[in-house]
Structure formats: C-alpha cells, structure tokens
C-alpha cells in the first residue's frame, strides 16, 4: 500500500527537509503512526489524543477528510495526502 504525503514547511525539519514522503497506510490513523515510525516526533505535531489537531487540515487527493470519514478516511494505493495548516486569526 503506497501513498504519497505532502509535508508542509514547518514539519520538514522532521522529514530531513523532504517535502514529499511515501508510506503505507490504510487510513489516516495508520498514516500518522506510519509517519511516526519513519519520522519520530511527527505524530505529536499532527495529532492530539488520536485526533488531527485543530487548525491542521488533511486532504486525500482533493478531499478534506473532515467531510469524508475524518481519521478513519480510507486510503488506497496511489493516493496523495496533503497536510496543510489552516489560515486563520482573530482581532483580539
């Protein structure tokens, strides 16, 4: 099972500068664990208590996992997963 993962700039220190990595996983939860094996420390950056952190958006191909099946969203060979920080703020 091979998927491609696009790594955002602030996490590239953990992936030795790589903007794209490959790994094997059947869903997002497995993907986070698989990434952690290769790039220790990344799980804590991506998730908290088994859930993807607030203000971090994950897309499988072009779909936001929140509108599919969240952490249980199924991955298949050849999928591209993008990890993208939200753009947000406030005036206080």
């Amino acid at each position: 099972m091979g998927v491609k993962v696009r790594i955002p700039t602030p996490l590239q220190k953990l992936t030795n500068g790589k903007a794209e990595v490959e790994c094997s996983a059947r869903n997002i939860t497995e993907l986070v664990d698989a990434l952690e094996k290769d790039y220790p420390g990344i799980k804590e950056r991506l998730s908290e208590g088994g859930k993807v952190r607030r203000f971090i958006n994950i897309y499988v191909n072009d779909e936001d996992i929140r509108f599919v099946n969240k952490e249980a969203t199924v991955l298949k060979d050849g999928d591209t997963i993008s990890i993208v920080p939200a753009i947000a703020g406030g005036c206080r």
């Binding site: 955002p8 700039t9 602030p10 996490l11 220190k13 950056r45 952190r53 607030r54 203000f55 971090i56 958006n57 897309y59 072009d62 936001d64 929140r66 509108f67 993008s82 993208v84 920080p85 939200a86 753009i87 947000a88 703020g89 406030g90 005036c91 206080r92």
Partner: protein
Amino acid sequence: MLTITRTDLARIIDHCNAGYPNEMCGILGGRDGRVEKVYCMTNVRPGPVSYEMDPEEQFRVMKDIREAGLAMVGMFHSHPGGHAYPSSVDVERAYWPGTRLPNYPSAVYVIVSLLDRANPVARGYVIEEGRVSEMPLTVLEQQEDHGIAH
C-alpha cells in the same frame, strides 16, 4: 517588500468592505515579491474579531497557484474595528499549533484596517520564529513600472 497594483489593492479593500463588520480574508498569488493574483476567500468563522479560510477553498486556491507556476506570496484579512497590525491570535495562528514554527514562512500577512472606513489602511508583515516584522507594501499605479511607497 511586497508589490501590488492599485487595482489589486482596491479589490482587497472592496472584499473587506463587502463583509463589514465581519473580518474578511483572501490569498495572494504571485512571484518575486509581486502580487499577480488576488483570491477573495470565504470566512467560515465569520465575526468582527475572527476569520478562518474555508479549508477546501484554500486547498483549491493553493493548487491553482502552484499550477499557474506562482507561489503564495501572501494572504490578507481585515480588522474591521482594529489597527493594521497582527493581533496575538493572528500571530498564534501563523505558527504550527504548539510550536513557534511559522506555517508559511515566506508569506506576507496583509492586514486591512477599516477603523476609519473612509481611509482603509493596509500593511504587510512577516511572521517568523518568534518575531513579527513589517514588510512594506509598494503600490504600483497601472501601466507604470515605478512604485509609489504606500
């Protein structure tokens, strides 16, 4: 320095005015410190003191920018009742959650203050590891290649 045409700056201000008194937001595509495309975005957390770009729209726009061979040179949002300076929440959200690592290290955060609605003020900032610094905006008058400091 971030360069933008008078027309593009007017588009940003129009979008911010259209959503008043809520905060409005958008993305700036371009290259070499120059804005070439303004994307007006949906604020999915609308309020006078909050914004969050629609995540799917953000993804599509970032892809569009890449496919056009451009980069995300900046983003903008309005402060309907505040000054054109990043708030503590703006700075917090510019970093990866729980860290001081900037999410978009080379992007300019443009803030449009509508405090004086007749005279909107737009200013740019870069938010780096633990530091906010102003990145001056240069407004280009149309069809002319000389910049006028704004």
